[in-house]
């Protein structure tokens, strides 16, 4: 394995299958980001495995030219764990959505994070069930009107990042489908982490929940609404980087 890896371009990680997401779906951008990250990482197609469950996002493995396994609803983390048990040298990515990963498969998500299996989880969060035509999901906000919640959802949404941290995840990150450089960099960092890396991606569903994240992803609002955490750098945001957070060491320690 010491031989020089061939430098590949993102398109070397595209399969010959026609991509069948809705025009304008955020999944296209995520696919592109993953293919770019794989190329940048010098990943080897034969050693890379994408495992998915069920849902729009779960079609993902068909569109990558590595090994891929489109499994059953919610169970991708368990199947991916089995892949790693059989061959720990494989580079395994789990592709899931908010319904797949946090509703029907919530238990498996909990345990893969708890066990810290060495793989990457990308959770496509669009706050809605797309493939089954628009029902509310476990990340839908209260009051969300859908075919199954005509009067608005009464359930509190789950916060994927808080969930992951709560069950002991060691690498938790968030990005946005439209932020290509940030997403690519996040995926690369996730890959470098040994253990389970959990990456939530805000993904816009143009058909059933268009604009769900517009309040902070719209170009005109983004800089005032987004704070990008970078290790060792001040937590500032806003057009002129004049807003931000700082923690007082004295106060932090007195609270702990």
């Amino acid at each position: 394995m010491t031989a020089t890896l061939p430098q590949r371009s993102p398109k070397d990680f595209a399969s010959d299958q026609e991509v069948r997401w809705c025009p304008g779906c955020g999944d296209y951008a995520i696919l592109k980001a993953v293919q770019k990250a794989l190329a940048d990482l010098g990943a080897r197609r034969e050693n890379t495995v994408f495992v998915s469950g069920i849902g729009c996002a779960a079609r993902f493995p068909y569109y990558v030219s590595s090994y891929g396994f489109h499994t059953i609803h919610g169970r991708a983390p368990a199947i991916a764990t089995g892949v790693k048990l059989a061959n720990p040298d494989l580079d395994v990515w789990v592709i899931t959505g908010d319904g797949d990963g946090l509703s029907i498969g919530g238990n498996h998500m909990l345990h893969v994070l708890r066990r810290n299996v060495d793989l990457q989880v990308i959770l496509f969060n669009n706050e809605v069930y797309g493939l089954t035509k628009g029902q509310y999901s476990p990340t839908s906000r209260r009051g969300f009107r859908s075919p199954s919640t005509p009067m608005g959802s009464v359930d509190n949404p789950i916060a994927p990042g808080a969930f992951a941290l709560g069950v002991g995840a060691r690498f938790v990150a968030r990005s946005v489908d439209t932020l290509l450089p940030h997403l690519v960099e996040t995926l690369k960092r996730a890959h470098q982490h040994r253990g389970t890396s959990f990456v939530e991606v805000f993904q816009n569903c143009v058909v059933f929940n268009d604009g769900a994240f517009a309040s902070f992803t719209d170009k005109s609002l983004a800089s005032d609404q987004q704070l990008h955490l970078e290790h060792g750098k001040p937590m500032v945001f806003g057009r002129r980087k004049t807003r931000g957070f700082a923690s007082s060491p004295a106060r932090s320690s007195s609270r702990s």
């Binding site: 495992v51 499994t71 169970r75 089995g82």
Partner: protein, 620 residues
């Protein structure tokens, strides 16, 4: 330990004996039975055991539902069942006596610990009067011994608490029974030494109790009507034997299976469930042989991890019992659709739902054959005896890898725990069936098929130039790409069924276990009923009845000669511990008027149950 006094009467010779140790679930009856089994096996007897314990770990003391029992049938003859009736009952308390007395034969012996027959215990067992004082035990030879007092005397001076001292009662009873049947104590002494290596006082107390019980028998403190017995060694083929439970034999079978397949890794995904957990425990000790065990978060994750492992080139195995298998159903369908090898072990228990977790049944045959959404065929095999579980384990690996398909292995609560002597096989003599992963990229297609088996290639992640995608969506024949084409779905459905059907030509033709291959009556069984059916047919044949015994290992598909074979008998009787499952499958497949003999009591058939049922049909 000296030689017996010269005045000692001769030991009575017996061909076979059935003993049951019964007490509270905390009394150590399972350990007592296992140690007696060990010594009996070392003495060369053939044997069969039946551990029967409650689902509660420590049920309230003294209650009938908290009774834990261990039955052993041993002798000089070929022992195939655990014995219909008890020759000897060791009852550590009134509840144990109450539960087991109906199984004691007329004139059989019962040993009771008189101290345990307190008013409180009698009341808890539901006895209005003390059975030791009235004529309840009149039909039996009763050995009333104050086991409690003898035990306390034996361990006196070791500084044990009363509770600790009383926990040695089982060893005293074991010592006496070992004396009664002329068994050595050597293995038990070693076992106690190992088990309590770090607790000297406890170790010494158990040893003292064991020896005191033995000495009690030997020094003629026994009532005049009780003597020792002698059961000669069985005439078994010579070789190295060990006692084996169905679970252990299956575990070793799977292990030998992967070696014969040339696989380097087996991944067992499992979630604890009675009575399947012992397989997980046993295989967890096989780490050095390429076995990885994974206690998953639930039944679904357990089977999914096994599927993921098979996808990545290991042999995925999952084990459970009926309720857990129900949860695995969707994932098993995925393995069928993606055509990956997978072994699913179902240690069946009485149901439906939680049912009777510790009691045996064979009512998951429909679930195994039919229990998935859509047309989803797989291979179903069943083990008949503890030793047979070894061969079934190997065969499951062979079929799963050769045909790239899930295989369900049916055992049950009885078989999983039951033990018998096992002639340790020479594994070098087991035929190899090497698996070839696909590595050649030239002309590779994930769903191209082997002409003979219709199996698709096993192309494992990590192999250059074979990158491909598989999944639960219908796959295009050859390429495996998603296909919604109507003709393709018809063709793929037909091919999946045809692949399983071809297995029928790759398994041994159905043989007759006992009796002629044609005639008046065939008694057809499967699974753990082998012993009682065999014995019943043997007895009926000795009386001159024209009866044969057939026992099926392959339940789906059936051996190719089965239909013809069954049609050569006037009547086909099918005893099952369910309400009639195999009988209906046979009727559906072959349009033959097979008749069921059915029982669901949570206990194995008695020989006499089957004998009587068959006799009734013969006379009807």
């Amino acid at each position: 330990m000296g030689s017996p006094p010269a005045t000692r009467p001769e030991r009575e010779v017996r061909d076979s004996v059935v003993i049951r140790f019964a007490g509270d679930s905390g009394d150590g009856m399972q350990l007592t039975g296992l140690q007696f089994t060990q010594e009996t096996a070392l003495a060369g007897s053939d044997l069969a055991t039946f551990p029967d314990y409650p689902a509660e770990i420590r049920a309230p003391a003294g209650t009938t539902y908290g009774v834990s029992a261990f039955q052993i049938h041993f002798g000089t003859q070929d022992i195939t069942s655990v014995g219909d009736e008890l020759d000897v009952l060791v009852a550590m308390n009134p509840a144990a006596l109450k539960v087991s007395l109906p199984d004691l034969r007329m004139g059989g012996s019962v040993l009771v610990d008189t101290s345990a027959f307190s008013d409180r215990n009698l009341q808890k067992a539901g006895y209005a009067a003390n059975p030791l004082d009235d004529d309840t035990l009149a039909p039996f030879q009763v050995l009333k011994l104050d086991v409690t007092r003898h035990t306390l005397d034996a361990v006196d001076g070791l500084g044990l608490s009363q509770k600790e001292a009383l926990r040695c009662r089982n060893m005293w009873a074991l010592g006496l029974m070992l004396w009664m049947y002329g068994r050595s104590r050597k293995a038990t002494v070693e076992w106690i030494g190992k088990k309590f290596a770090k607790e000297e006082a406890i170790r010494d107390a158990n040893l003292r109790a064991l020896n005191a019980g033995h000495a009690f028998g030997e020094t003629a403190e026994m009532p005049s009507h009780v003597s020792g017995y002698s059961v000669a060694a069985a005439e078994l083929a010579s070789g190295m034997y060990r006692t084996v439970s169905g679970t252990e034999a299956l575990a070793w079978g799977l292990l030998v299976g992967i070696k014969k397949a040339g696989l380097t890794r087996l991944v067992l995904g499992s979630y604890p469930i009675t009575p399947a957990s012992p397989l997980l425990h046993t295989m967890a000790g096989f780490k050095d042989y390429g076995v990885v065990t994974f206690q998953a978060e639930d039944e679904i994750a357990a089977v999914c991890a096994a599927i993921g492992a098979s996808y990545a080139g290991a042999l995925g195995v999952t084990s459970s019992s009926g309720p857990g298998i129900a949860l695995k159903g969707e994932a098993i369908g995925l393995a069928i659709a993606t055509e990956l090898p997978l072994i699913i072990v179902n240690a069946q228990r009485a149901g439906p739902s939680t049912g009777l977790p510790t009691k045996t049944e064979q009512s998951d045959l429909y679930q195994a054959i039919y229990g998935r959404n859509a047309d989803a065929e797989l291979i179903v095999v069943a083990a008949a005896t503890p030793s047979d579980s070894f061969e079934v384990g190997i065969e499951a690996v062979r079929l799963a890898t050769k045909y790239m398909t899930p295989v369900i292995v049916l055992t049950d609560g009885f078989l999983a725990n039951a033990a018998e002597p096992w002639l340790i096989p020479d594994v070098d003599l087991v035929a190899e069936f090497p698996v070839a992963y696909r590595t050649d990229p030239d002309g590779f297609m994930p769903f191209a098929r082997d002409d003979a088996t219709l199996a698709r290639p096993w192309a494992v992640p990590g192999t250059p130039e074979l990158e491909h995608r598989i999944g639960g969506l219908e796959r295009s024949a050859q390429t495996g790409n998603i296909s919604y084409d109507p003709d393709n779905h018809q063709a793929m459905t037909n091919t999946r069924a045809a692949k399983i059907a071809r297995v029928a030509a790759d398994i041994p033709p159905q043989a007759v276990s006992l009796g002629p291959d044609h005639g008046a009556v065939a008694v057809v069984g499967w699974g753990s009923t082998y012993g009682p059916i065999h014995q019943a047919v043997r007895l009926l044949r000795a009386e001159g009845h024209d009866v044969a015994h057939l026992h099926l290992r392959y339940l789906w598909p059936f051996p190719s000669n089965l239909a013809d074979l069954l049609r050569r008998y006037d009547r086909v009787l099918v005893p099952e511990m369910n309400t009639g499952q195999l009988v209906n499958v046979l009727r559906a497949q072959y349009l033959i008027p097979a008749e069921g003999i059915n029982q669901v009591t949570g206990k194995p058939f008695k020989v006499s149950d089957i004998e009587r049922a068959v006799r009734t049909r013969l006379e009807a």
